[in-house]
Amino acid sequence: MDLKFSDEDLAFKKTIEEFCEAHVAAETRKKIALGHRLSKQDIVDYHKVLYDHGYAVPNWKQEWGGTDWTSIQHQIFDDVTAAYDCPRRLAFGVSMVGPVLQAFGSREQQEKYLPRIARLDDWWCQGFSEPGSGSDLASLKTSAVRDGDEYVINGQKTWTTYAQHADMMFLLTRTDNECKPQEGISFMLLDMNTPGVTVKPIILLDGYHEVNEVFFDDVRIPAENLVGQENKGWDYAKFLLAHERFGIAQIGYAKNQLNRLRDIASQEQTEDGKRLVDNVFFSQKLAEIEMDLTALEVTNLRVLSDAKNQSDLTFAGMLKIRGSDLNQKLTRLIMEAVGPAAAVEQQDLVLHGRNEPPLGPDYAGGAAPSYLNNRKLSIFGGSNEIQRSIISKAMLTA
């Protein structure tokens, strides 16, 4: 056993640090540090910078612009970019539909879409969840009926992140009703500008327009937009979700949040004139969460270092549960550290970056919105209750 990073890994880390320092927009990093929301342009600009440096699609096959990074190097990249308050890479193209197209798409689909995904020429969104099909995704009802060279799509998707920015959607549709639900689902690609597509915003607890409902009313898409085989979409979706698990514990993000928490707790003074970080209750919580984070970081590295662990569903679910729990606790502690100033709503500043003087310290405005927004971590991508069901099934049938 040797828990040291190799010299190559350390050199890699340094390269990424220099990249963050020199090339990622300071304004964007500041927004992230304060818990303020990014504009579409901020996200696009960051992606272009990644692309220019060959970091846009590191998880892809090399023929499509990917890298030969090891799992540990992927983790280093995530850790360092998080530590430098860089945005998280937009997942829908790079981590979701991109790998699916490389594994199951036609050559034409690969050549048409992959370079555009890599450059973020197209912004993709994910059409999986439906109003009646959240945790029970296989019950989805949005139908696609073949009509000559086209499919005609009718139905509704929901919780579609950034559909308002999207040029393209990958979605699951029902193409067969006469079989087990999982066996009648297809994976399709859809141009969001097609007639019959309507996007309706859903505003989240923090006031942020992040997710949407998307309605399909006789939307006609070319039959060539089917990925792989008809009725095999469930397999591709499972492949996608397995791919998405990379980095699901969000260790880098958590580490950065812990540092931020320490900073705030060092600046805040309690009623007795002492620093909050020296308060007996608060310092205990800080110590506890540091231990939780340390254990989770090592679990994550154990998974990354061993292919056997990577295919073990008990580990995948654990990383999701523990990672979401930890990040939620951290944003709650940040809100508590900020204290009563966090009770003041400053949406103009946090959501829209308006330059009014902030009320209270500059870190106050983003604290409660980040806490509220992070409640989603234990709900989306398979709720923590669903994850526990998966883990128990894997444990008890092993």
């Binding site: 859903i202 989240l204 204290g339 003041v344 709503e345 009320l359 709900i379 923590n384």
Partner: protein
């Protein structure tokens, strides 16, 4: 021992319950919040007309002569409405700090309270507001502010003594910065640049601390009412929402979660009853300690209920419009005002048993 409500208390409960049902549906509340004042002036007037702000004022001063149990009954009934007006603040603290003056008590909602300062967290000690020659300067934060308010009672230092001063908000030396809280309630910061300050006689730090303790205990009952409403909504959602071909309520994991939430709510209610009793019986440090025990326990329960009711609603719980989020945001904000769990835990320990 008798935990049942008196006839008068039942009437009070019904009156407030009817007001909430008629005037404070979540949709109505949203419409009030959208108004420029952040609440509805006419609805605030109705609250005053119901006499709620006078509950704890002695009968000889024109009040209802009620005690902390009466305040509790009103608070718990107001909770499901997430009422935007600072009813409990006025009912408990303003009346306790009026120094018996009728001009402060009449109108019911003419006076608000400026007791906190930026950067001082939960401290009631006025560190940056002071009075010299009858003029007050400094800033006050987290001031419950409604458009009908004409005056603020602000704490300040004068010659090394803490006192309470009456300031007219119309004074040119007073600047009001309005903002909503995370849960939508309209609050404000006050900047005082030598405003005319009229001292309220007989109020020192001890009276201020006691008044805030009484207000905190009353606010705990509002939280209990809001928690109960969040629990009821969650129970309803689990019964209606189906996944995997059956209602969510059929999944044992979720049943147990509902049970845990119910136990938190019942614990919180018991704590609020106990604290109201203490408010009737005790003063001084015993009162402060009782308020801290209640606020720490109920603040913790409020966070639990807020987080788990969102979780059990799944994606719907994340939306601004669905409703459970409004309760969750109130409960989270409740914990951030008048001392959070850690602050009150510290005071419970410091003041001994």
């Amino acid at each position: 021992m008798d935990f049942s409500l008196s006839e008068e208390q039942r009437m009070l409960q019904e009156t407030v319950g009817r007001f909430v049902a008629d005037r404070y549906s979540l949709d109505q509340r949203k419409a009030y919040m959208a108004q420029s004042a952040g609440h509805d002036h006419a609805v605030a007037g109705e609250l005053v007309d119901l006499g709620l702000t006078l509950v704890q004022i002695p009968e000889e001063q024109g009040g209802l002569g009620g005690d902390a149990f009466d305040a509790m009954v009103v608070g718990e009934a107001l909770g499901p409405g997430l009422v935007l007006e600072p009813v409990m603040d006025v009912m408990t603290a303003v009346s306790a700090l009026s120094g018996g003056r009728d001009d402060i008590l009449e109108d019911g909602n003419s006076h608000t309270l400026g007791l906190y300062e930026r950067g001082q967290r939960y401290s009631l000690n006025p560190a940056i507001t002071s009075v010299e020659g009858g003029k007050v300067s400094g800033t006050k934060t987290l001031v419950p502010h409604t458009a009908g308010t004409t005056h603020a009672l602000v704490s300040a230092q004068e010659n090394g003594q803490v006192g309470l001063y009456r300031v007219a908000l119309s004074d040119a030396a007073v600047t009001v910065f309005n903002y909503p809280l995370q849960d939508g309630r309209p609050f404000a910061d006050l900047q005082l640049d030598g405003a005319e300050a009229e001292k309220v006689d007989g109020i020192s730090m001890a009276e201020i601390e006691a008044a805030v303790a009484r207000m905190t205990i009353a606010e705990c009952s509002v939280a209990v009412g809001a928690m109960q409403a969040a629990l009821d909504m969650t129970k309803e959602y689990l019964s209606v929402r189906k996944q995997f071909g059956r209602p969510l309520a059929a999944f044992q994991e979720l049943q147990f979660r509902l049970v845990d939430m119910n136990m938190e709510v019942q614990d919180a209610r018991s704590m609020a009853i106990w604290a109201a009793n203490q408010a009737n019986l005790t003063t001084g440090e015993a009162l402060l300690r009782a308020a801290s025990m209640a606020k720490a326990k109920i603040g913790k329960a409020a966070t639990y209920v807020a987080e788990d009711s969102i979780q059990l609603h799944g994606g719907m719980g994340m939306t601004l419009d669905y409703g459970i989020g409004a309760f969750a945001k109130y409960l989270i904000t409740f914990n951030l005002l008048h001392g959070d769990v850690d602050y009150h835990m510290g005071r419970v320990m410091r003041l001994g048993g």
